[in-house]
Amino acid sequence: MSATTSEKTADLTAGSSWKALVIQPIALAVILGLMVWWLFAADLTETERITLDPGYLWGLTLQHLKLTAVSALFVLITAIPLGILLTRRPFRGVSGLFMALANIGQAAPIVGLIVLFAFWMGFGTPAAMVTLVAYAFLPVLKNTMVGLDAVDARLIEAARGMGMSALTVLWKVELPLAVPVMLAGIRTALVLLVGSATLATFIDGGGLGLLITTGVNLALDRVLIFGSLLVAVFALIIDWIARVVEYLATPKGL
């Protein structure tokens, strides 16, 4: 009896996913290291040297990060509250409408969407950000709602029965229990954002996509591959950070 329960206790503190959490950053660091080593060791042509200049790369990366971060932040501060609101009893009726809208945002091809927004709002970073927000909205909204809906109604009633107010129940019971599902949605959205932000370059929105388009346009295969790899590594780093947050924020005992 005591043996089995102590095993269970161990399970709670050390889930099976911690190994993946350690391996992923190591692998990413190795890849990134190899890329940097190649950058300095390879025999680059003059154009390649200019496009792959470390300072220039750093600038592009920061642009990309900004695109992703700002749109992600905007998605979080709109989609999560909306998801919470739509699961409250008075608003349940209209949740279908909002889900349909969010679905359109994601179902429409993002390349088309980004151009449409550019024509409407003018070329540049703001239009790119709006597109990204529309694109990443659904997974966050949907997972917020699914996560909250999945909380056992009897638990909510028990909590109300103890004298917790509706707001306290949301804050202390519903959200903590919905956190794993919500964070999974946020992670999906973030990875989507990092990838999709490469398209910003088409409407002059900046970011690492520039490396890829330059590579394609000037037939610089090495720049193209380097750019793609950089975006992929960037996406995986964001994914890893989100996984760590998920791991830490998931309440014990679930």
């Binding site: 009897r154 109300r160 107010s165 005992g253």
Partner: protein, 463 residues
């Protein structure tokens, strides 16, 4: 907490309470019900009869459409619902523990909301875990999913008691645990209540559970209509109408076994034999007592087996002839449990044990059968029943010297209530009957002993 020896419960009055959803028939219609202070009142009835709705109206998880809820003389119908609920303990099936909080944090939830300081919460938590037989050192920091169903349920009870509320509402709390655990939880609740004297309102669909735990039983019919309100003894001996009769089933005498304790009946005394003593002396004692068999006790006087004179004659010192053991029941168990134990063991007798498992005597199936016969003829004590009806008349409160509030009907209203309770127009339709028969697994078998399929379980298999 300081006056735990006295009644800490509060009187509850539901005054002409109605709950209706839209245009449909009201779920609870014009219910007036007094719950006496410090007593356990069981709500039983078929599903959809409004018993759970009634319970939840007491802490206003469900707001009554009309009528008043009065607790200890105070009208709580209009007060802040959250504040009210912090003053009332609430236990649901499987405990309703928050899975992301430790056992300790779960128990400390209400005190925390009431802004007790940390040290006081910690002390109270440990005290309560102790009360429900969970070692605080072991369980305080565990998470609910690391506990068994029965343990979770205990924590649920501890949590409900945390802020020492005068009233405890329990909504089919033991419905989800296995029969053996349920029996233990029920016994623990009896002990806890004997210590604390809370006002407990307990919803169940298991009539045996109601008989076992209740000071009073309210039998509800559809629409929150009270069919009978009385002590278990009264209801078993004098069911008010056909509805109640059908609910109890024909085994009323058997159900009274749930009321009688083993220590109340005459036990048989068999000669006892100590392990390791001289076999010849033991055999002599059996002969002197004209007994063919004796009970073997270990060094702590606990019964460990039967032994016959023939066996003894073949031994030099007493050893156990077989490893079958002996069915035992505690002397404070109900006759129902005793019978259960014998049937499960396939034996016609069981050893009765007292404190620390010491041997007290032997109970046989015959003893139990005689008790059944005796019980069904025993006169039931006349006691005045708390107020409970659906006539719409409102009772008058009186406060006793010790501060306990009781209610009474005005004289002509009382008459109305009596008439109502016995009125012939409370018809009992075929559909009602069918509902009962599908609902309760009580078999209307006529034979009292041996044939009744329910005999086996004081609630076993009756989910």
């Amino acid at each position: 907490m300081s006056n735990s020896s006295k009644i800490t419960g509060a009187t509850i009055l539901l005054e002409n309470v109605t709950k209706s959803y839209g245009s449909k028939k009201p779920a609870v219609n014009q219910l007036t019900l007094e719950i006496p202070a410090g007593q356990t009142v069981m709500f039983v009835g078929p599903s959809g009869c409004g018993k759970t709705t009634t319970l939840k109206m007491i802490n206003r998880l469900i707001e009554p459409t009309s009528g008043r809820i009065v607790i200890n003389g105070e009208d709580v119908t209009k007060m802040n619902g959250d504040d009210l609920r912090r003053r009332i303990g609430y236990v649901i099936q499987a405990g309703g523990l928050l899975p992301h909080l430790t056992v300790g944090a779960n128990v400390g939830l209400v005190p925390k909301m009431l802004k007790w300081d940390k040290e006081r919460i910690r002390q109270r938590t440990d005290e309560l875990l102790d009360l429900v037989s969970l070692d605080p050192e072991i369980y305080r920091d565990r998470y609910p999913k690391q506990l068994s169903g029965g343990q979770q349920q205990r924590v649920g009870v501890a949590r409900a008691l945390a802020a020492d509320p005068p009233v405890l509402l329990m909504d089919e709390p033991f419905g989800a645990v296995d029969p053996i655990t349920r029996q233990r939880l029920q016994e623990e609740l009896i002990h806890v209540q004997a210590e604390l004297h809370k006002t407990i309102v307990f919803v169940t669909h298991d009539f045996d559970e109601a008989v076992k735990l209740g000071d009073w039983i309210v039998i509800f019919n559809e629409g929150g209509k009270i069919e009978q309100y009385g002590t278990p003894e009264q209801i078993l001996a004098h069911p008010a109408n056909e509805f109640v009769e059908d609910f109890i089933g024909s085994g009323a005498g058997l159900k009274q076994l749930g009321l009688a304790r083993v220590r109340d009946v005459r036990m048989r005394q068999l000669p006892t034999v100590d392990l390791g003593e001289d076999a010849a002396a033991a055999a002599n004692r059996l002969t002197e007592a004209h007994a063919i068999r004796g009970v073997v006790l270990d060094q702590h006087d606990r019964p460990v087996g039967w032994i016959s004179r023939r066996h003894l004659e073949k031994m030099s010192t007493v050893v156990l002839p077989d490893e079958k053991g002996v069915p035992t029941v505690g002397e404070s168990s109900t006759l129902d449990d005793a019978l259960d134990t014998m049937l499960v063991a396939g034996s016609s007798e069981a050893a009765v044990t007292g404190a620390r498992g010491r041997y007290r005597g032997v109970i046989t199936v015959n003893t139990v059968i005689r008790a059944i016969e005796g019980l069904s003829h025993e006169a039931v004590e006349e006691v005045s029943v708390p107020v409970g009806h659906n006539t719409g008349a409102i009772p008058v409160a009186t406060t006793a010297e010790n501060g306990v509030i009781t209610y009474e009907m005005a004289e002509d209203d009382q008459q109305k209530e009596d008439e109502w309770l016995t009125s012939a127009n409370r018809e009992w339709s075929e559909t009602d009957r069918q509902k009962w028969e599908n609902y309760s697994s009580l078999d209307p078998a006529e034979d009292v002993v041996g044939e009744d399929p329910n005999l086996k379980g004081s609630g076993s298999e009756r989910a």
